[in-house]
Amino acid sequence: MEIINIDNASYYYKAYNDDGTVGRAVGVENVTLSIEEGSFVALVGHNGCGKSTLAKLLNGLLVPASGKVTVCGMDTSDKNNIFEIRKNVGMVFQNPDNQMVASIVEEDVAFGPENLGVPQPQIVQRVNDALAQVGMSEYAKRSPHRLSGGQKQRIAIAGALAIQPKVLVLDESTAMLDPMGRREVLQVAHQLNRGGMTVILITHFMEEVLDCDSVAVMDGGTVVATGTPMQIFDNGTLLNRVGLRAPRTVELAHLLKNAGWNVTPDCVDARTLGGEVCLNLDQIK
């Protein structure tokens, strides 16, 4: 079942021309995309390709200038729907420090349900559940600014989960993290997805795309390709054109395959690829 539908949506930012007149800059233009309930979708693209604008269209932070965005059957341009939409689409942003509203972890997580007017005993329940889901229960009483980047982002995810959304949007949430933090956040995202959550992962790290169900590639404000990760990785000309690159292991596996080695071309794990290469050694001799 389709949970989010983007139908020919465009959004423009105000921009000042050199002569001082007001013009417009493309945020996104004529984007059409459909997201299935329960899927794990990656949105990739170079800086300034419109990924984050698209993300903000998903929960009504921005409303398309033309076209339509529908979430769970509700039009985001209708002001009456806005809170119902935001209840369904949890959003986590790039900078963990700039999305904390409280100075204690559990109080930050409680912010969403408090806004929704959830009765007090249920807020406690929701906060505990959300923190358990991201594996941060033991940090409930701590101050977030002493935690690592990955931990802070997990708190931010918990904050989104406490609203009990159907869709979780990670808007470059891994961009500022170290490899360890990125792994933590992705693990949580995949685990939530296995539990039925629709996840939209916005990123420019191609390795993060590997385990997704489908990938949408953006360039210049439009979606230029959609497909499974392998279909996208195989399309070298497309990736080149938009300034992206398949993960190194995939590139290597492809080269080896083309050179006549017996390896799986879609191999993404360096260790597995190494094993396969070793098995090939006898043949080469």
Partner: protein, 279 residues
């Protein structure tokens, strides 16, 4: 550079004072702050010292973090003390006289008491912020200011702004530190030259800080909107404020203590205290 400022920094612990209701803590702290200006004798100060030590012990806050807050305003304290020493005229002969400067015994006594009073004022307020999370503190302010809603005062928004400000202090300080280091790495000089030159050297720090502040505010607004924020309407609270036996015990003790102080020293000295504060 700014690591020493503890104001607004919560020290997590599981203590008698931490478990008290924030509203009671706020009111008792205010009572303390007023009361301290009634105290004029050293015996009184000894009692207050004892009181503060007991509270700090009950709060299980290390003495070091309490004293840190005093360190932050030590310059102001010394300045006040020095001014008081020089400008208080006594009745008898001056203790020390040189050129136009005359120091009287009264001046010394007065300055020492002023120093104690201001120090205790800072310690008292830092105990409050060390044992109360900014969120609890804002809830307390919001709850205590509720009557002002009658005159359309935006109580909830006021409390929220207060809490956001407090929770952004650490990250703003980190950012200031980072910008200063970045500018130093590019050869900026903050340590030499006259006052004007040094002040000008701070412009390249303030501008990125200001721009960063706007960006931060924008991102925070987006994050809050995404989490269904729509002002005070129908908002509930996770933390229930409940008065317990601790609040009753503490209130009785503190009120009795300060009632005694008010009776002993009387109204007159209080007026004196307030006037001194202005000097």
């Amino acid at each position: 550079m700014f690591r020493d400022v503890t104001f607004g920094q919560y020290y997590p612990a599981d203590s008698f004072v931490h478990k008290m209701d924030a509203r009671i803590k706020l009111v008792l702290s205010l009572l303390f702050m007023v009361g301290i200006f009634f105290v004029v004798s050293y015996v009184g100060f000894a009692v207050i010292t004892l009181y503060l030590l007991v509270v700090i012990a009950l709060a299980r806050v290390p003495l070091k973090s309490v004293l840190k807050s005093v360190k932050g305003i030590i310059f102001l304290l010394l300045l006040t003390a020095i001014i008081n020493v020089f400008f208080t005229k006594g009745a008898g002969e001056p203790l020390l006289s040189w050129w136009k400067i005359e120091i009287y015994t009264e001046g010394l006594i007065f300055a020492s008491k002023m120093l104690l009073r201001l120090t205790y004022l800072v310690i008292g307020s830092s105990i409050l912020t060390l044992t109360t999370t900014p969120v609890d503190l804002t809830h307390a302010v919001e709850s205590l200011l509720k009557p002002l809603r009658v005159i359309k005062f935006p109580v909830h928004e006021f409390a929220l702004i207060m809490s956001l400000t407090l929770s952004f202090i650490p990250s703003l300080m980190e950012e200031t530190d980072r910008i200063i280091r970045a500018q130093k790495a590019r050869g900026a000089d903050f340590d030499t030259g006259g006052l004007v030159k040094r002040a000008k050297a701070f412009v390249p720090i303030l501008i990125p800080l200001l721009v960063g502040g706007f960006r931060r505010a924008d991102e925070l607004a987006n994050a809050m909107n995404s989490r269904c924020y729509e002002g005070a309407t129908k908002r509930t609270r996770m933390r229930k404020m409940r008065l317990g036996w601790r609040d009753a015990v503490a209130s009785v003790i503190v009120v009795v203590l300060f009632a005694a102080i008010f009776t002993v020293y009387g109204m007159q000295s209080a007026w004196g205290g307030i006037i001194w504060l202005y000097y």
